[in-house]
């Protein structure tokens, strides 16, 4: 007993001590705890890094930020004062957060804005904050949140965002009821197929330029005893999204962008024969183990990241994987020896009309000078160029074109700059529970479910989502 009282005594002492510390921070003012953290991270450290080791950091690292980033004076601070705060909420974490900081660093340096970032993948946090009346100043979230929070958001026109920086088809998906509510901040192209040029060369395959050639190539691979596709659905709650991407690309090949946009706005029902045709085309590949690794079970149970790696493993388990642009960075991380262009590369889905992609919008809840400065900076040509230099995916901003450091991003950036059309992901765009219903429906279909029933259910979910 005495030993235990000692332990308890020590613990209580410790508690009191720490409580005193914590309490001190508390009573001084809530802002104390807040400013203490960011200033250390955002203002002290960077200046130190800049002044103490400027040569290494600037000459070796991707030089875009240093050489092309204009002088601080060119950034319009929109009247933001030194020390103004912006609270932000986003889903990015780890290396992505570091890249975002790199993009925003010139703005911080120029205007002295202090960022209070929060990162979570839990949408409940955003919902709680908004419902509690304490939303973050800006949030980087999905397009469907633009619809959900239509009444709380400040329009981009009001904030003075530069419309000229974006192609019209990038502004359309983030415009809700004729109000431009989201700044298209980050894009990804989904309509691409990754393959290994080295393996194609060893086996004598050519990159297809039409859908028929792709079909013939797939049959050729099967005849040679190779597995053409690597598919993987598994992705936690969102299991099945890779299938929905593939099917939408097939729709774009078979029916075109009008059709896909029709599904998104409800003029085409999800049980249309065109949808059915795309499902069936996909199903012949996704459920057969001569066409895809492991057949239907392999498709359903393979994690989507694993699926990306299969064509580039040695020996390759498959020849091709259809995955968005982010796959390039994942392949490079997984196999540091491989080189973009010779060991891994991609081609745009042959015969596709327009591109399928995703847009991550930035939405604004509070109109403050600091937020205006952020919007102005990100929608400026220079903001786009800095985004490209940070190797943080693609930027829909026209200023990004030609400024990418990463060769794969450069190639994708060219594709996105030259595309004739751009459709967003059907599942991500239709509000309500349609997205997860679609993923689930596709998983059921691959698992041998009845296609008519699945499409009928999804058409109902589509109608419900759009009527909300």
């Amino acid at each position: 007993m005495s030993k235990f009282s000692k332990i308890l005594g020590v613990l209580v002492m410790f508690t009191l001590l720490l409580t005193a510390c914590g309490g001190g921070q508390q009573t001084q003012a809530p802002t104390d705890a807040v400013t203490e953290v960011p200033t250390e991270a955002m203002t002290e450290a960077p200046t130190e890094a800049m002044t103490e080791a400027p040569t290494e950091a600037m000459t070796e690292a991707p030089t875009e930020a240093a050489t092309e980033a204009p002088v601080a004076g060119e950034i319009d601070c929109m009247g933001a004062a030194q020390g103004d705060e912006i609270s932000m909420l986003y889903q990015w974490a780890g290396a992505e957060e570091a890249a975002l900081n790199q993009v925003l660093q010139p703005l911080i340096d120029a205007c002295g804005i202090v960022l209070r970032p929060e990162s979570t993948r839990d949408q409940a946090l955003l919902d709680t904050r908004v419902q509690a009346g304490t939303p973050p100043d800006v949030a980087f979230w999905q397009v469907s949140q633009l619809v959900q929070y239509e009444d709380q958001l400040v329009s981009m026109d009001e904030l003075g965002a530069n419309r000229e920086s974006y192609g019209e088809f990038f502004i359309d998906p983030v415009t809700i009821n004729d109000e431009w509510l989201g700044l298209p901040i980050k894009a990804d192209v989904k309509s691409i197929i990754w393959y290994s040029p080295a393996n194609f060369e060893a086996l004598g395959y050519e990159v297809p330029t039409t859908w028929e050639e792709l079909d013939a190539l797939v049959e050729q691979m099967v005849a040679d005893g190779q597995v053409p596709w690597s598919m993987g659905f598994e992705s936690g709650d969102a299991t099945g999204w890779t299938g929905s991407d593939f099917i939408q690309d097939i729709m774009l090949v078979q029916q075109g962008p009008e059709f896909v946009n029709g599904i998104i706005d409800g003029s085409v029902s999800y049980d249309d024969p065109g949808v059915r045709q795309a499902y069936e085309t996909y199903g012949t590949w996704a459920t057969d183990e001569t066409y895809t690794v492991g057949g239907a079970q392999g498709t359903l149970s393979t994690p989507f990241l694993e699926a990306i790696f299969k064509p580039f493993a040695d020996p390759p388990e498959a020849m091709m994987v259809k995955q968005s642009g982010f796959a390039g960075a994942e392949i490079k991380t997984q196999f540091p020896d491989l080189e973009q262009g010779t060991d891994y590369d991609f081609f745009v889905v042959p015969g596709i009309q327009g591109l399928q992609g995703s847009i991550e919008p930035m939405m604004v809840f509070n109109d403050t000078p600091a937020v205006r400065a952020l919007v102005a900076y990100l929608s400026s040509e220079q903001g786009g160029a800095n985004w490209a230099g940070a190797t943080f995916g693609l930027s829909p901003n026209l200023g990004a074109a030609g400024n990418y450091v990463d060769p794969a991003l450069q190639k994708l950036g060219d594709a996105i700059a030259n595309t004739q059309g751009f459709t967003t992901d059907i599942g991500d765009t239709i509000p309500g529970g349609f997205g997860s219903a679609e993923f689930q429906g596709i998983s059921e279909y691959v698992n041998g479910g009845d296609l008519d029933a699945i499409l009928a259910d999804l058409a109902a979910a589509q109608a419900e989502g759009l009527n909300q």
Binding site: M1, F4, S5, I7, L8, V12, T15, L18, T19, G22, Q25, Q26, P30, A33, V37, P38, E40, A41, M42, A45, P46, E48, A49, E56, E60, A61, W92, A93, G94, A95, E96, E97, A98, N101, Q102, Q105, E118, S119, T120, R121, D122, A124, T128, R129, Q131, A132, G133, T134, A198, N199, A202, L203, L305, D314, P315, P316, A329, E330, P336, D337
Partner: protein, 393 residues
């Protein structure tokens, strides 16, 4: 007599087997995670964690298929010297190697009468040839732990970046980095600041309340007690929005006090229930004689209840500590990213696409450290306390 003993022993065997099996099932993944957290990420990608316990056999397939002509060290044929990097560079991977092996050399099949290696074997030969010149890296590393502690988010490791001078702007490569707001080091302190008061306060209040419900006579005592215990059914998630709104009005959002109050409120119903039932089992005579001797309620509480209720307090302490320490939701909503706790940092170690997991494994073990210490320090109270108040005298 002997037979009975044997029977007794045999009867115990199934129980023991089940207990040991359960232990293994629980422990193996944890050991795997621990080993993984200590390995460099490149090694984790290429082989399973269990391989660190054995010695690796490499080049086995080279010996089978190639050594006969090319020699054990690859230099037997001068026109095809396998130690020459330029030669090897032509077939870095299995498909190219197999294509070469299928070709004829001087009109003869490359492999002669021997069979071709399978794709898997060819891949291993190609890897063996490529890596023959490279020196093997060390099997274990603390880099994952260091990266997690300082909150390094780059592509390489903190130590490599610091050596090259290319560290991210929020790191200075000095001892100060341990307090980097993105790292586990700073989060550890924040977690302590949240957890200790959030454990201490509900137990303190519950001890008061338990004493009152057990030994003070007042009207509506049972009803009030039932009501308090009934509060346990209120789901925490339901109250997030209203309490967040209230906190915003009184300025408690993002403060430690707000989290302490929240945890205290939600920890108390169970704590009071447990304390009241435990204190109810103490002999009545004890208190009566104390009162007769002139003890006030406060004296009785301090000198009788606290020492006697130690097992219950300790077990409550462990439960509440683990609950608060492992909580993500409450600290995410009420503290958020400005004063991140360990669970928040862990959830942000990997990118939204799942890369950076090697730091996650280390971070998970860092956050397990303190609960383990607490558990082992108080474990005898843990088992004793589980039954506290369960049997009412």
């Amino acid at each position: 007599m002997k037979r009975e003993q044997i029977n007794k022993l045999l009867n115990k065997v199934p129980t023991h087997v089940i207990v040991i099996l359960t232990m293994i099932i629980w422990i193996v993944p944890t050991v795997g995670l621990l080993v993984t957290s200590l390995r460099p990420p490149e090694a984790v990608r290429s082989s399973g964690w269990w391989t660190v316990f054995g010695s690796q056999t490499v080049g086995g397939h080279y010996a089978t298929y190639c050594a006969e002509c090319h020699g054990a060290d690859g230099t037997a044929l001068p026109q095809a010297d396998l130690t020459n990097p330029d030669v090897i560079a032509k077939y870095p991977r299995s498909l190219q190697l197999l294509a070469l092996l299928r070709k004829d050399i001087n009109g003869q099949p490359h492999m002669g009468d021997n069979s071709l290696p399978s794709a898997q074997e060819a891949a291993e030969i190609a890897t063996y040839l490529r890596e023959a010149g490279e020196e093997a890296g060390s099997k274990f590393t603390f880099n994952n732990y260091i990266d997690a502690l300082v909150g390094y988010r780059g592509e390489d490791t903190y130590r490599a970046d610091c050596a090259a001078g290319t560290q991210p702007p929020d790191l200075s490569c000095t001892a100060r980095d341990i307090l980097n707001p993105r790292g586990m080091g700073r989060a550890f302190i924040n977690s302590l600041l949240v957890t200790i008061p959030a454990t201490f306060l509900p137990i303190l209040f519950a001890a008061f309340a338990g004493y009152a419900f057990a030994w003070l006579d007042f009207k509506g005592r049972f009803l009030l007690f039932a009501l308090l215990v009934g509060l346990q059914v209120v789901p925490l998630q339901m109250t997030l929005v209203p309490i967040s709104r209230f906190y915003a009005q009184v300025g408690l959002n993002g403060t430690f006090l707000g989290v302490w109050l929240f945890h205290t409120g939600f920890g108390m119903p169970y704590a009071i229930y447990l304390m009241r039932n435990f204190l109810g089992t103490l002999p009545k005579d004890l208190f009566e004689s104390a009162y007769l001797d002139g003890a006030s309620h406060w004296t009785a509480f301090r000198q009788l209840v606290i020492p006697l209720a130690m097992p219950a307090i300790a077990s409550l302490g462990i439960f509440q500590f683990l609950w608060v320490w492992n909580d993500l939701l409450v600290s995410l909503v009420f503290l958020g990213g400005t004063t991140p706790v360990m669970t928040y940092q862990i959830s942000n170690m990997v990118t939204s696409l799942g890369s950076g997991w090697q730091v996650l494994t280390a971070a998970a073990f860092l956050s397990m450290l303190l609960p383990m210490i607490v558990f082992f320090a108080l474990q005898r109270y843990f088992v004793r306390g589980m039954l506290a108040g369960a049997v009412k005298g």
